[in-house]
């Protein structure tokens, strides 16, 4: 039953928040609901950690892998909503731009993403994945500016088309399962599939076909190159908290779906085929995004491309497989979420103070916005994978796996792209930090305690995980890996 709690809380929360017209009240309510949400998720994770698998009915199930992603969702959404409580303090003009709408949509968004992780049925998972698109499309277009509308439309269209292919893939897998003689009712249940696969001979060709469609479909949501086109627009135009949610949670949910299919397909036709595809997409995303980082002008677009690059890294980790590869990939998912949300938060502050995200208009930050610049520097150093921050650890793990499997091409490309990305980040970072004070004097460098605290938490988390990964966290990752192997 507990599995229903987060879903209900999110749904009801969305409705409740809509009820409050007063901004402060709505904000407080939202924070309260978030608290409940996180609490319920924590309970679930705890029980999973004790019992292994939780199941309610035929359509809801949580195991190690999903609980790992639930942790991710809980942590990030907590940070984001606290940040948003400060960020949304001055509401935009026009209909549907008041905080209550914002929170309502955010809770819907959370609902869909959580249910992606909770669903035991691949079909349901698809429905919810489509749901994430629908729920977040309005958030992307929230400000109703030209850019926002355009980005929203592209996001909606591209992702819906992509997702449609994922549906086709799901159907093909279903077909394969049914043909192999599985009961049509459970033929889309991943647990059932996993335990049926060894027994029944699946039509390997159909399974491969299914995986191709699925990886293209869900890959669109992950932002694999060349299906990534929607991603920078959406990230750049959405309100900052939403950008954080998109790149730190949504992409991971899509990645979760791919992982599920990867596990199933590897069981059916061996790991070679899916892992090759993952490696191809991973390397392609890394290289292209890494190069595009060099020529960006808008800070949030830069970060969006870096998200693509990091999803590529995760995909490479999965594609390599092996203990270190999987460990690195999962760890990297979490680290990237934290680092990227920290970056987006600081981007939000820059937006508030300089009134622009054009990087050539932002100068002399180090003097005018000391705290934000510290956050930005920490986040960037972490994101480009320098010690002592956590992303160094996960990238080091993936690299080690690549080398110990003698995948020298992948490894070399990996290292090269990391250097390129480092170059891009350092270049723009130095330009923004140094230099003379800007003509448009920033509003006020002071941070709200809420922004302050979440940035602090994120930064400390990055540093801490770089020095020492808590044992409990390692155990959880081990559980997740156990599912994938």
């Amino acid at each position: 039953m507990i599995l229903l709690a987060p879903l209900l809380i999110a749904l009801l929360g969305a409705l409740v928040v809509l009820g409050f017209r007063n901004h402060q009240v709505a904000t407080r309510a939202a924070l309260l609901i978030t608290g409940l949400e996180i609490a319920s998720l924590m309970v679930i994770i705890r029980q999973v950690h004790e019992r292994g698998v939780l199941q309610v009915g035929r359509y809801l199930r949580v195991d190690g892998l999903s609980s790992f992603f639930l942790i991710n969702i809980a942590f990030i959404s907590g940070l984001v909503l606290v940040y948003a409580s400060g960020y949304m303090r001055h509401p935009g003009e026009g209909r549907f731009t008041s905080p209550r709408w914002f929170y309502a949509l955010v809770f819907l968004f959370l609902f869909t993403m959580i249910s992606v992780c909770l669903s035991a049925n691949l079909g349901l998972m698809w429905i919810m994945m489509e749901g994430t698109t629908l729920a977040s499309a309005l958030l992307v277009g929230f400000y109703n500016t030209k850019g926002a509308v355009e980005a929203g439309w592209k996001y909606l269209m591209v992702c819906t088309v992509g997702i449609a292919f994922a549906l086709f893939g799901t159907i093909v897998l279903y077909l394969a399962a049914v043909k192999a003689g599985m009961n049509p009712d459970t033929a889309l249940d991943w647990a059932a599939l996993m335990e049926a696969l060894p027994r029944m001979g699946f039509d390997s060709h159909l399974v491969k076909l299914a995986f191709v469609f699925v990886i293209v479909g869900y890959g669109t949501k992950i932002g694999f190159v060349p299906m990534h086109s929607w991603l920078p627009d959406a990230h750049a135009e959405a309100p900052t908290p939403v950008s954080a949610l998109l790149s730190a949670v949504l992409l991971n949910c899509a990645m979760y779906a791919v992982m599920r299919y990867d596990a199933i397909v590897s069981h059916a036709v061996g790991a070679a085929f899916p892992h090759t595809l993952l490696l191809i997409f991973g390397v392609m995303s890394m290289v292209v995004a890494g190069l595009l980082i060099l020529v960006q002008r808008n800070l949030k677009r830069l970060m969006a491309y870096s998200s693509i690059e990091h999803m590529g890294i995760v995909a490479i980790g999965l594609g390599l497989g092996g203990p270190l590869g999987l460990f690195g990939a999962l760890l990297h998912i979490f680290n990237h979420s934290v680092g990227k949300s920290l970056l987006f938060f600081s981007a939000g502050n820059i937006r508030e103070n300089f009134g622009t995200l054009r990087m050539d208009r932002v100068t002399g930050m180090a003097r005018t916005l000391p705290q934000t610049s510290v956050a930005l520097v920490v986040g960037s150093l972490a994101i480009v994978g320098l010690p002592p921050f956590s992303l160094f650890v996960s990238e080091f793990a993936i690299l080690s796996e690549a080398f110990s499997q003698r995948r020298y091409t992948v490894a070399v490309l990996f290292l090269a792209v990391l250097s390129v990305v480092f170059g891009g980040f350092t270049y723009y970072l130095l330009r923004m930090l140094c230099g003379d004070d800007p003509k448009s004097a920033p509003a006020n460098g002071r941070l709200l305690p809420s922004e302050y605290s979440v940035m602090g938490i994120a930064g400390i988390c990055l540093l801490f995980f770089g020095v020492r990964i808590p044992h409990i966290f390692t155990v959880i990752i081990q559980d997740a890996m156990a599912v994938l192997r």
Partner: protein, 662 residues
């Protein structure tokens, strides 16, 4: 792990520098507490020297294992090599800290001071981490931190656009180098399943030749970038001069040596020699580096840039020794290999001493005169006697004059080069002895270069008001410089003290390197020589004579002014003329007014070097990358239909792939 007393001292060193001192220095504004913290840094570094010396003597391996906490194995151990470099770091750190104690405080505002001190202390820790790490993970963490912190320190000096550009270049090249280093570590992975140095060492035997070659090449690239081998050096003359002087002292004197450490660790410890050709490659690159480095240094008039280029030259000399040693190893002549390695390591040590002394001196000059442009200086010797004396010692040492430490290491390298003749029937038989000529040329040019430095900056008449008004620097700075000068002289006069332990160290890395008797000859001949020279000098100095100060004669010309002295530019002119093929200078003379060629109001002369590695190598690469990026950017057209097309095409391609796959 029993926490022995040495281990404890070592941990104390790390804790003080890494945690306590930065924290206190960041937190407190109170003068007393600062002084205490700084004193603590000095003290812990002195302790570090003792720890290093102890570990050095009785091969006692300090071992600190914190792998229980860290995601990957993280252990620190001090074997002899690490001990040597730990000694180097701490020895330089002490005077530099003392110097900064007064330098930093009257150069920067309160907030900057805090940052600088915190970073300085952390910077020291990161370097100690590098040389004492005994797992790849620990090494890499130290390596990256070292770069970051030094860059931070450079940024604290100022953030003008070109400053920023130099820092960017520095960071970028360092990161590329670090990538190469990471690669060369991880290449061992398939064979030794952990990056623990011990296991790498153990399994390096089974690594196939191809991989060994790759490891060597990557290590050479990576560490060569950090060490500043030409053509990977371009960051060095840009980054070192713009740092605060004590920091440049640490960067040039110590940080470059960590690269030497890494290279020795890889080539001699892990690969025990590398492929047969590697020695020759290193030798060649080193020779080019040394020669070009000193030539570029000669052409510079900005003292700190000049010093940076001379660092390039000295790195060249160090790698010359290393290359020689590798060749001897490849031809299985361990005794001479040992000698050459000893020479290289000793030169690394000596260079740390005199180069940091020189940078501190430049700091003192800039404090006294607000400039380090040689053309603005002159006559400082009589105004700042202590600084002058220490700088003179440093110049003699770096010029490789006998009785100073630079000569000892160069002598050892000369000696081993000469010994190349014993490799009958190999290329080395001639190549190595011929290298003596190259090294001699480098030495001669270095002497010329530092005659210029000392002569122009400290002797003759002051060339500017600022130099005229220069005052001697405060006690702390003088003390710091004097310590280093003393070190230079001691090593120079009693080489045995350092050569013998060094040679004994090499048993570990070069199996069968017995104590070469040759090392002893210099050890006993130098003190006698010193005795004679000093004896005679003092004797004749005490001969009674009448002295009188009159105006400079100068063939009787009246009205002599400082403008009539030889300038730094014209001093190096003959050499620049001879080697003009190296500089390819672009000269330009403007006469104003241009119509009267014979009675010009003003004549300006510019001569700029046109040979540039940026133009030749780096800019093309950057342009390729950027153009690729712009191509991709164009593919991101913004038209949704194109985006959809991409998706469909991907799908079709994958389906085709699937079709033809089976």
């Amino acid at each position: 792990m029993p926490l022995g007393s040495i281990d404890f001292a070592f941990c104390f060193l790390l804790a003080t520098l890494g945690i306590f001192a930065p924290f206190v220095l960041m937190a407190s504004q109170a003068k007393k507490i600062r002084v205490f913290a700084i004193a603590l840094i000095v003290a812990s570094n002195i302790i570090g020297c003792f720890v290093a010396a102890l570990c050095f003597w009785r091969q006692s391996v300090v071992f600190v294992d914190v792998s229980r906490f860290t995601p990957f194995p993280f252990t620190l151990g001090i074997d002899r090599l690490s001990a040597l470099f730990l000694l180097l770091i701490c020895t330089v750190a002490v005077p530099v800290t003392i110097f900064s104690a007064s330098y930093v405080d009257d150069h920067y505002g309160q907030r900057r001071q805090n940052w600088i001190w915190a970073f300085l202390s952390l910077f020291l820790v990161s370097m100690i981490l590098v040389v004492t790490a005994s797992t790849g993970f620990a090494f890499l963490i130290g390596w990256e931190l070292m770069t970051l912190l030094s860059a931070g320190l450079v940024l604290l000096e100022g953030d003008s656009p070109e400053h920023r550009h130099n820092v960017f270049l520095y960071l970028l090249m360092m990161h590329a180098g670090a990538a190469a280093v990471i690669g060369s570590f991880l290449l061992f992975l398939p064979y030794s399943h952990t990056l623990d140095f011990a296991s790498i060492r153990a399994t390096s035997g089974v690594v196939p030749a191809g991989i060994r070659m790759l490891v060597f090449s990557l290590a050479f690239l990576g560490f060569g970038t950090k060490a500043g081998l030409i053509p990977l050096h371009i960051w060095l003359p840009r980054a070192h001069p713009i740092a605060p002087s004590p920091v440049s002292a640490l960067m040039s004197g110590v940080m470059l040596k960590t690269a030497v450490y890494g290279f020795v660790r890889f080539v001699f410890d892990f690969l025990s020699g590398g492929p047969w050709w590697s020695g020759y490659v290193v030798l060649l690159v080193a020779a080019v580096t040394g020669l070009l480095g000193i030539l570029y240094a000669l052409a510079e008039n900005d003292l700190k840039r000049l010093l940076a280029y001379s660092s390039v030259e000295n790195v060249g000399i160090i790698f010359l020794g290393l290359g020689t040693s590798m060749i001897f190893l490849a031809h299985s002549a361990p005794v001479w290999a040992g000698l050459a390695l000893a020479g290289a390591l000793l030169h690394a040590f000596n260079h740390a001493m005199f180069k940091s002394l020189l940078f501190l001196g430049s700091g003192a000059i800039s404090k006294a005169t607000q400039t380090v442009d040689l053309e603005e200086l002159g006559g400082l010797q009589s105004r700042m006697p202590v600084t002058g004396a220490t700088m003179l010692v440093a110049c003699c040492s770096i010029a490789g004059l006998p009785l100073f430490n630079g000569f000892v290491s160069e002598w050892v390298i000369f000696r081993s080069l000469l010994a190349g003749a014993v490799l009958i029937g190999t290329k080395a038989q001639v190549i190595l002895p011929l290298m003596v000529g190259i090294l001699a040329l480098i030495g001669g040019l270095a002497a010329a270069c530092f005659v210029k430095v000392f002569g122009v900056a400290f002797l003759g008449r002051p060339r500017s008001e600022a130099a005229e008004q220069a005052q001697e620097v405060p006690l702390a700075m003088r003390a710091g410089m004097s310590l280093l000068a003393a070190a230079c002289i001691v090593i120079g006069v009693f080489p045995g003290l350092f050569l013998r332990p060094l040679v004994s160290l090499l048993q570990v890395f070069v199996p069968g390197a017995g104590v070469p008797p040759e090392t002893l000859s210099i050890a006993h001949i130098i003190p006698i020589t010193a005795a004679i020279v000093l004896g005679v000098t003092i004797a004749v100095a005490f001969v009674k004579r009448r002295e009188r100060v009159v105006r400079t004669w100068a063939c009787g010309q009246p009205g002599l002014t400082s403008r009539m002295q030889y300038t730094a530019t014209v001093f190096s002119k003959p050499i620049r003329f001879v080697f003009s093929s190296v500089y390819r200078p672009n000269r330009k003379i403007d006469r104003l007014p241009s119509d009267q060629a014979y009675f010009p109001v003003s004549v300006t002369y510019r001569s700029v070097r046109t040979t540039s590695y940026e133009k030749a190598i780096y800019r093309p690469i950057a342009e390729i990358v950027l153009s690729a990026a712009n191509q991709l950017r164009r593919m991101q057209t913004g038209n949704i239909q194109v985006y959809l097309l991409y998706i469909f095409l991907t799908l079709v391609l994958l389906l085709a792939f699937l079709r033809f796959q089976q």
